[in-house]
């Protein structure tokens, strides 16, 4: 009697590809794995200890050997021991884990930002250079990448196991996560938050490339218009410039250098201008009036798609001189020559929601 060939094939395949942890393809991955290893060891020790105690007592004090039990109340010393030691170990894990958590969700200031929109059931990535991707994401190695995520409908979750990062894409608000890939290759992208019928088809590839390959990819898949350029056209087609024209007597505040600055609202509360703030200020302006201005801006709720909002936000960010410099370093140098106007106009209209 031999093993059935099917099972045999299976076992061979498993032995060859056996892994208990996905590849470590980001800067943070080895750090997360170190904590995982530590916790696994502690767990194994704990489990072994319980197992040993139970087994040893079961053998030593089985009825055959020890017919008469000795009644014991308990022991405060022992209780204290197994309260304090686990607590101490758990607290070590807590501190270690929290440090990692802050690292994973606090992007460095020089990170290159890519927008990701989740919808039933696909991931759309918007690169600052204007490249669009569906269910895949191309990134270079050794460069911190920040993802700004939002969902168009239900909750989704953007998970890259090889990077040990994951972030929920939530309808109505931006969330962020960052990572720095280290090894070129193709890795899984999963939607891990259950999102309906084709949840398990909402998967894709993270393609990590060397800087050279990445440049080639960028040049080859450009739509011809960067996000900021697209935003600029939306900005003018929605006549935002009528008020936000940067003149001293303008009805709206100047948007130059507004990104990253601290504003005071009419309510007196200070705010930091980030992507989420800009998005909210476009959709719900009256709750975000800068001090000294009248609440005259109309809402754009329902008039601009999430992609359009992303373009506008990116355009406003680009009005910052130093941000423009930084993004130039990141991507613009990789863009081909300026495309002709006609193509650009068509692309600009993409952002406007269809009625």
């Amino acid at each position: 009697m031999g093993l059935s060939p099917v099972i045999w094939q299976f076992l061979v395949k498993w032995m060859v590809s056996f892994a208990i942890i996905p590849p470590e393809a980001s800067r943070i991955a080895p750090q997360v794995d170190a904590l995982l290893v530590f916790m696994t060891l502690v767990s194994l020790v704990g489990l072994t200890l319980v197992g040993l105690l139970v087994t040893a007592f079961s053998i030593l004090y089985r009825r055959d050997r020890n017919p008469v039990p000795t009644q014991i109340e308990g022991s405060t010393l022992l209780e204290a021991t197994w309260t304090i030691i686990p607590l101490g170990l758990f607290l070590i894990m807590f501190v270690w884990g929290s440090v990692l958590y802050f690292r994973i969700y606090t992007p460095p200031p020089n990170a290159m930002n890519i927008y990701v929109v989740g919808k039933q059931w696909m991931w759309k990535a918007e690169h600052p250079g204007g490249q669009h991707e569906i269910n895949s994401l191309h990134i270079p190695i050794d460069k911190p990448i920040q993802l700004t995520l939002i969902s168009q409908d239900v909750f989704h979750s953007f998970s890259i196991p090889a990077f040990r990062v994951k972030r929920e894409a939530i309808p109505g608000r931006y969330t962020t996560v960052w990572f720095e890939a280290t090894t070129p290759g193709t890795y899984h992208l999963f939607c891990t938050q259950y999102c309906g019928t084709a949840h398990s088809a909402m998967i894709g590839d993270i393609v990590v490339q060397t800087p050279e390959d990445y440049k080639m990819w960028l040049a080859g898949s450009t739509s011809g218009v960067s996000l900021a350029q697209n935003g600029e056209r939306l900005f003018s087609s929605l006549s935002c410039g009528a008020c936000h024209n940067g003149q001293p007597d303008a009805r709206g505040p100047s948007l130059a250098n507004v990104y990253g600055s601290k504003l005071t609202l009419t309510t007196g509360s200070p705010v930091l201008v980030d992507e989420a703030y800009l998005r909210q200020a476009i959709l719900n302006p009256s709750a975000h009036i800068t001090q000294g201005y009248a609440p005259i801006m109309p809402t754009y709720q329902g008039q601009i798609s999430e992609e359009g909002l992303i373009s506008l936000v990116e355009y406003i960010k680009n009005l910052n001189s130093n941000y423009r410099v930084q993004q130039t370093l990141n991507t613009t140098e990789l863009l081909p020559e300026q495309p002709d106007k006609g193509a650009a106009k068509g692309a600009a209209m993409q952002g406007v929601a269809k009625p």
Binding site: I21, V32, M39, R63, I72, G74, M93, I170, H188, Y194
Partner: protein, 553 residues
């Protein structure tokens, strides 16, 4: 191997003619009963029914996952099946499993009362449970529901066109069943204890149920109002959770997990109570550190209310909230560790035998330890990011719920079977079943930890090729586990007629329930006992026996 089993002479022994089962006859005497023991039996039958439905759905899930493609069923069907599996197993099996059956049967007897405080409400709670169950089945048959048991908004309010409202209503109703059970237990434990039965003479089973009842009474209403809001949002279109109207879907998460995290402790605490009784009885010893075990139950109940946001670490709650909730999660892990070590040390210098309930209890200790420790992986914010929403979390809560709670439930059912029915279950085959269950369980769920580490997301009808081998292991294990669950069904039913006569106290245990006849009288005690002995007082029990002997001699 020796045993503590002490049965009456089978040639002369009879199951007492007058007991709660034979007291009245006819179907109406069951359907209108106020007797907590009969209601417990009604519950036992109905939760077993729903366990089998949930188990069959689990079997379908495992079959589908045998291959990477979604070939057995379309992904829509798969989504409905895992949703129904979750709803049935959580709300119709795990939450009422031990409290509504063993708790209902034993709590009044353990504290020397004739019944629960509110017998009619107890019966009402069974009918509510049935109504909830029937509605769930109705929702399943008439097209199912595909939101997952977590009913995440805005999916459940705006994007799913399945039977969300019916299922929500079913959970709402079943929720009231659980509120009433909890309320009944708390009032009974406060007001119905026999003279001399002080709080610290109560068996730990009662303490565990007390803690679980607090969670039921305070947590479930929040779930109820959340369901009402979801239903209003779905039907009328109010905007409390709808981001397009200014509502916040995260608020739904907060409200939902405010119940659903404590619900985990509602499910596991009564199981811990069972384990305390079983380990004490089969090692002939007082539970080591009785007060520590009792207070750790209460501590779990209290801390359990303040950890809910650890289900939301990656959902964009503020980093500082994550710190607080991660820290509190670490704190709630400690009382569980205290319990495990106290149980282990109860064995120390005991006189241990290995009957079926004890085997299940050992299984519980091992599996619950793994389940608890992997919970710490998930409570640690940094590693939660990688592990959450993957099969790691599926494996974790199955280790706690199935490995922990179901093992405890089976342990308790075997332990008190002679009290429930007056007859013994067959020992050898049930020991085999316990071992088969343990092996099958590990085969099924351990590979899922590895799958989760590798990043396989939960709730996937189709998955990448490379995860197949571990999934095949898991499915193979599930068939073994299935056998492990079918065996007790068969031999327990068999034992109703052919089991050995158990007598009052086959295990020589100390609880008040073992000092009365099996099966008990409808009124439990002919005269209310006056409790003088300590809890788990085996010396008192020995003296009682000597006393009897001298009396007869």
């Amino acid at each position: 191997m020796s045993t503590i089993l002490n049965l009456p002479d089978q040639a002369t022994a009879r199951v007492p003619k007058r007991n709660y089962l034979t007291n009245e006859n006819g179907i109406m005497s069951w359907l209108l009963t106020g007797d907590h023991k009969r209601i417990a039996i009604l519950y036992l039958i109905s939760i077993t029914f729903f366990f089998f439905i949930g188990g069959a759905l689990a079997g379908l899930i495992r079959l589908e996952l045998l291959t990477p493609q979604s070939d057995l069923m379309a992904s829509d069907t798969y989504n409905k099946i895992f949703t129904m599996h979750g709803v049935v197993m959580i709300f119709l099996f795990l939450v009422p499993s031990v409290p509504a059956t063993l708790g209902n049967f034993l709590i009044p007897i353990m504290i020397g009362a004739k019944d629960l405080a509110f017998p009619k409400i107890n019966l009402l709670s069974w009918y509510l449970y049935l109504a909830g169950g029937a509605l769930t089945l109705g929702a399943m048959i008439s097209g199912g529901v595909d939101t997952g048991w977590t009913f995440t908004t805005p999916m459940s309010t705006h994007f799913s066109n399945t039977n969300v409202i019916t299922t929500g209503l079913a959970i709402f109703i079943a929720g009231f069943s659980s509120i009433f059970t909890g309320l009944n237990f708390i009032v009974t434990l406060h007001r119905m204890r026999a003279p001399g039965m002080t709080w610290f003479k109560m068996p730990l089973f009662c303490w565990a149920h007390y803690a679980a009842s607090i969670l039921m009474v305070l947590g479930t209403p929040v779930l109820a109002i959340t369901i009402v809001l979801v239903a209003l949002e779905r039907t009328v279109g109010i905007g409390v959770f709808d981001p397009t109207k200014g509502g916040d879907p995260i608020l739904f998460q907060h409200l939902f997990w405010f119940y659903s995290h404590p619900a985990v402790y509602i499910m596991i605490l009564p199981g811990m109570g069972v384990i305390s009784e079983v380990i004490s009885t089969f090692s002939r010893k007082r539970v080591f550190g009785y007060t520590a075990v009792a207070f750790s139950s209460v501590a779990i109940a209290v801390f359990g209310f303040f950890v809910w946001a650890h289900h939301m670490f990656i959902m964009g709650v503020s980093n500082y909230a994550v710190l607080v909730f991660s820290l509190l999660t670490m704190l709630v892990a400690v009382p569980s560790a205290i319990k495990i070590f106290n149980w282990a040390f109860t064995l120390y210098k005991g006189s241990i035998t290995f009957e079926t309930p004890m085997l299940y209890a050992f299984g519980f200790m091992g599996l619950f330890t793994i389940g608890g420790l992997t919970g710490v992986f998930l409570g640690t914010a940094g590693t939660d990011i990688h592990l959450t929403e993957t099969y790691f979390i599926v494996a974790h809560f199955h280790f706690v719920m199935v490995g922990g709670m179901l093992m405890a439930f089976l342990s308790g059912i075997h332990f008190w079977w002679p009290k429930l029915t007056g007859r013994m279950y067959p020992e050898k085959i049930s020991q085999l079943a316990a071992v088969v269950t343990f092996i099958g369980f590990n085969f099924t769920f351990f590979p899922q930890f590895l799958l989760g580490m590798l990043g396989m997301p939960r709730r996937y009808a189709a998955y990448p090729q490379e995860f197949q081998v571990l999934n095949v292991f898991s499915t193979a294990g599930a068939t073994i586990l299935g056998v492990g669950y079918l065996l007790p069904m068969i031999y327990l039913v068999w034992s109703l007629k052919y089991g050995q006569i158990a007598g009052n106290n086959p295990w020589q245990a100390t609880g008040l329930e073992w000092q009365i006849q099996s099966p008990p009288l409808t009124e439990n005690f002919t005269t209310i006992p006056i409790v003088t002995q300590d809890v788990y007082d085996y010396e008192w029990l020995e003296r009682q026996k000597e006393h009897e002997v001298t009396h007869v001699g």
